[in-house]
Amino acid sequence: MNAMTETRPLLSVRNLTKRYGPRIGCADVSFNLYPGEVLGIVGESGSGKSTLLSCLAGHQTPDTGEVIFQTAQGPRDVLQMAEPDRRRLGRTDWAFVHQNPRDGLRMGVTAGGNVGERLMAVGARHYGDIREKATDWLGRVEIAADRIDDRPRQFSGGMQQRLQIARNLVTGPRLVFMDEPTGGLDVSVQARLLDLLRGLVRDLGLSVIIVTHDLAVVRLLAHRLMVMKSGHVVEQGLTDQVLDDPQHGYTQLLVSSILQV
């Protein structure tokens, strides 16, 4: 991994806190993500994973903290950016894969239109080129080319999720956020999706922050792991180290509970 080299972090998060009234969403979270790295965020339901992810991605505004992203113009605190710039980042350098494909797809638009949207959003104006790229990306996520003019409603849950991934990756984002991308799917479908994700991450050298409550997912995908409890990060480190030799009592519980399943 790059973590030990002198490369600058792609994303540097400092003391991020988000409260919902008196309740803590996430508190005082700090970490670095290096280019090409996959960071897993695990923890039980309600531990603050989604809150953290949506604050990082700019979907929610945290109360305090810094989210410094290595832009083409150098490091910038995303939270201090003007909204147009942040939204532009959201459709160019960044991508967000939602747990529920309905939240990340346009259900009334064809598969090709869904994949093409980001291309058109950044100025693609050649129908033939857009279609060619969409076809290519459908292939990469194992959706047959002849489904390009079907709408996502006609797709299975697994296919919808793969379509959402294609739609997000088509513009070559530098940082991908994923919130429980395999949640809500049948076990066999999950396995196939994980396999696919692993291939894409490896082939494209993606930098990813992936939230999940499923330790099998991070075992397969993540280089590093962050364990959250009640909004706080209680342990972080290399995935194998954390899973095989958990230091924090909560992580030990988490790891043993999966062993019992």
């Binding site: 093409g116 050649h126 129908y127």
Partner: protein
Amino acid sequence: MTDQAYNFAYLDEQTKRMIRRAILKGVAVPGYQVPFASREMPMPYGWGTGGVQVTAACLMPEDVLKVIDQGADDTTNAVSIRKFFQRTAEVATTEATAEATVIQTRHRIPEAALTKDQILVYQVPIPEPLRFLEPRETETRKMHSLEEYGLMHVKLYEDIARHGAIATSYAYPVKVEGRYVMDPSPIPKFDNPKLSNSPALQLFGAGREQRIYALPPFTHVVSLDFDDHPFEPSKAPHDCDLCGASESYLDEVITDDHGGRMFVCSDTDFCRTRREAGHVGRLGTPSQEAAE
């Protein structure tokens, strides 16, 4: 209520001032949808209450008003709006495009070239071009303000994917002065080129949706398209059967129950003017005036 209770052109001066302010704002920011407090009008929504309010705010006693619906002056909608202003503003009315100073229209731009002394007022049912794919008003407003218009092309992409070509033939979206994407109201796309660089002032009023927008004279307006599927203003590939015009927008008219049909100019004033000048189409008869 009696007619005496009406102010000139129906609306009270306070309301007119409010609408004029919205119009001025629209003129200052071409293509931008300006919210306004639409008033109850003595006609149902869908009958052009937005256009009527804009017209009422523009009319001066010396104006000459023309009202058209789908190109014709004699449809119920056009007749009732014309009567409304005859009664409430006592302005002169005309069917001749060239004589009018204010033209309220639904679904067409007149064929005859407009001049700098004319105002064209469009009746608009749905002012938001992005609504087709993004129903949330907060989001579409943000998309306009940040110029995030990729979604407009998704709509055109879907058209080509399903129909092999851009099938949108009415309310074809345009970009105004390289900035705002605008719905030109349900005019045929054949009329889109006439939106651009017109010497006339063009005003758009949506009553139910409470929006006014504008194209000041000589505004540059471009119809959206793809490099490999360029915009094409299309019409039926015929000449007008009454006046022989080859370059006007045509309506297809069924003439009997044996499949008989003819194509005639949708702009009735344009057609009549040509016939009076001696032009005769395939099924036309020489006009009286032309014969004299």
